[in-house]
Symmetry: C2
Subunit: 355 residues, 2 copies
């Protein structure tokens, strides 16, 4: 699947032409004609000569024709080559950096990461923002605290991970507790389970219920019950996905007609598929760009995804990124997403180091 790095069949002029076509297409959304290319002034060539070059690029699979009398449009492969070898990443601007730092700075709880996309998308791009957080099964715990928040059985559980990430849940337990009890249980669990993953804690708690000792020690029983109902229940949370800003793509010319619009929205609603795509990217570090059909999701034919993993050395926490039409401004979006992923990771790592 990997493209020949150099593709010796393309001389430097052909590359320049491909690059110019893609840039123009990204800017306008239209198919690019030999004449408009010639007029752009980038080449001292007549339309006829450019037609020859374009025909070659088409033969090699970098361009297509919507129909005979239309200009050329880049293919997936064309975009891929562009991104890999022709694109000059624009530096992220001061303002963009500030906006990202600002928003990332406001994220305190893990659930809040999910809303990050929405705000950033509206402040920086007009694409669709996506944040994905896999299950917390591998989430290593630093501390557990409980607070009674109503009655004697409504308990808020606040779990802080070794990476400084905070999760909280409120549950109504079967048993009754006093303020002092839940406090004590929190301290006990923190000491006992510090460093373990939620998954391990869960299994350990369940094993403890089977031990004889638990049957007799009432306090221990209460501890285990509360632990299972709260800490043990956080882990099996679904993969969480947040998609935001979908309305923005309405303004793009490629979604001018109702059918395309509808198709797009339905595709974005299929969160399972998106989760699958993002999950498959989770194993690799660095910025990931998926173009059109590369993502293997037929309904996303005309879309590209730019995403990046975030997390710490302790392990990845999820993916952030954007989805947009294939002809998006990669040169601007790629550094943005890259910086966002790094900023999030940096923040998490800082928290890890200064507990």
């Amino acid at each position: 699947m990997k493209l020949d790095l150099t593709d010796h069949r393309l001389d430097s002029r052909a590359r320049e032409v491909l690059r110019e076509i893609i840039l123009q297409h990204i800017a306008s959304g239209e198919a690019i004609s030999s004449r408009s290319l010639s007029k752009s002034g980038r080449f001292q060539l007549s339309p006829a000569s450019l037609r020859n070059v374009m025909a070659d690029l088409e033969d090699l699979g970098y361009l297509t024709h919507p129909h005979t009398s239309a200009g050329r449009v880049p293919t997936d492969r064309g975009y891929r080559f562009f991104i890999e070898y022709l694109m000059q990443q624009r530096k992220i601007s001061q303002r963009e950096r500030e906006v990202i730092d600002d928003e990332v700075g406001h994220v305190h709880e893990i659930d809040e990461v999910l809303q990050l996309a929405s705000r950033l998308v509206s402040r920086l791009t007009d694409q669709v923002g996506v944040v994905f957080m896999p299950t917390l099964l591998q989430f290593a715990v630093r501390s557990v605290d409980f607070i009674l928040v109503g009655g004697d059985n409504k308990v808020m559980c606040v779990i802080v991970g070794v990476n400084g990430v905070v999760v909280n849940r409120i549950v109504e337990t079967r048993l009754s507790f006093t303020r002092e009890e839940v406090e004590r249980i929190g301290k006990y669990l923190t000491v006992e389970f510090s460093g373990m993953t939620l998954d391990a804690i869960r299994r350990r708690l369940i094993r403890m219920t089977e031990e004889e000792r638990a049957l007799h020690d009432q306090m221990l029983q209460k501890t285990i019950t509360l632990g299972i109902e709260t800490v043990g229940d956080v882990a099996p949370v679904e993969h969480e996905l947040y998609v935001e800003g979908a309305a923005s793509i309405l303004t793009k010319p490629e979604f001018a007609d109702a059918a395309a619009m509808r198709k797009t929205f339905l595709a974005l609603q299929e969160k399972e598929k998106l989760v699958e795509i993002l999950e498959s990217c989770l194993s690799e570090d660095g910025l990931q760009i998926l173009i059109g059909a590369e993502s293997d999701f037929t309904q996303m034919n005309n879309f590209s995804i730019i995403a990046r993993r975030y997390g710490s050395q302790a392990g990845p926490l999820g993916m952030v990124g954007i989805i947009g039409p294939m002809r998006m401004e990669y040169a601007r979006m790629a550094p943005l997403v890259d910086y966002l992923g790094r900023a999030l990771s940096r923040k998490i790592e800082e928290q890890e180091q200064h507990p």
Copy 2:
């Protein structure tokens, strides 16, 4: 603005015709012709006679014509009359009741109310769900707790209202605290400020900073600082609005063309305007139905809003409801929203009584 209750100009036959037209239109989305009305069998009249009745209804402003050779379509006024006098509310079904009770039961924290709409909308209707929560300025506090969640200055603040509603925020404070300190401060604030509103607490804290005593008592100073940074900061939170399920309206025939679709999405994005509309409903109890232009929001011309206040005797907390095309199934949606609002309020009142 209020309609003549009886409108003596409408005899019982005209009413029946209006009712049938609206029901048919709601079901099909099409303009209703005299012939199809006659064929429906509800009336023993020829199309020609029905045309006379329909012409009368049009003169009185209950129906219109998209164009000469089209059938009749209800006007805002027609819908209003229908809802007020002609509609037979369908009883809410067992299943619907269960779904609502189930979802409401899962709401523990106030921020979670906002997501309620999204889940209910997808489980019960294909409309757009809306939840609105005004500022918490009038939120009366029962207890305040703090937990250190990283470093010595990252504090989670958990506030429980007298209505049992839970709010939590994480902030990084300027000062450093120990576990014991934040615990003590929580207990102190709970005792000191119990029953007061966030707004009052905030003002009181600020006043305290000006008192001489605070300058000398270091612990008091820490308490005030933490209080202002957390409790005092929750109140001025923006009005929060949650709109969900927008994609569902794509399937409705009235949004078949791209222009209508785009217009709709843009309207739904204008949250300030929606907030304004919902806020104006907040003063009245009971189910509220706004039809088309009644909401005074030109871009919502073709939409209706069904919403209801939720809260307790202590005061309203916000609005829940749905937005849909004018021709939505009022008979089914109205009781749904009504029950949802009541269920939410009931839950809040229960919590109020059993602290």
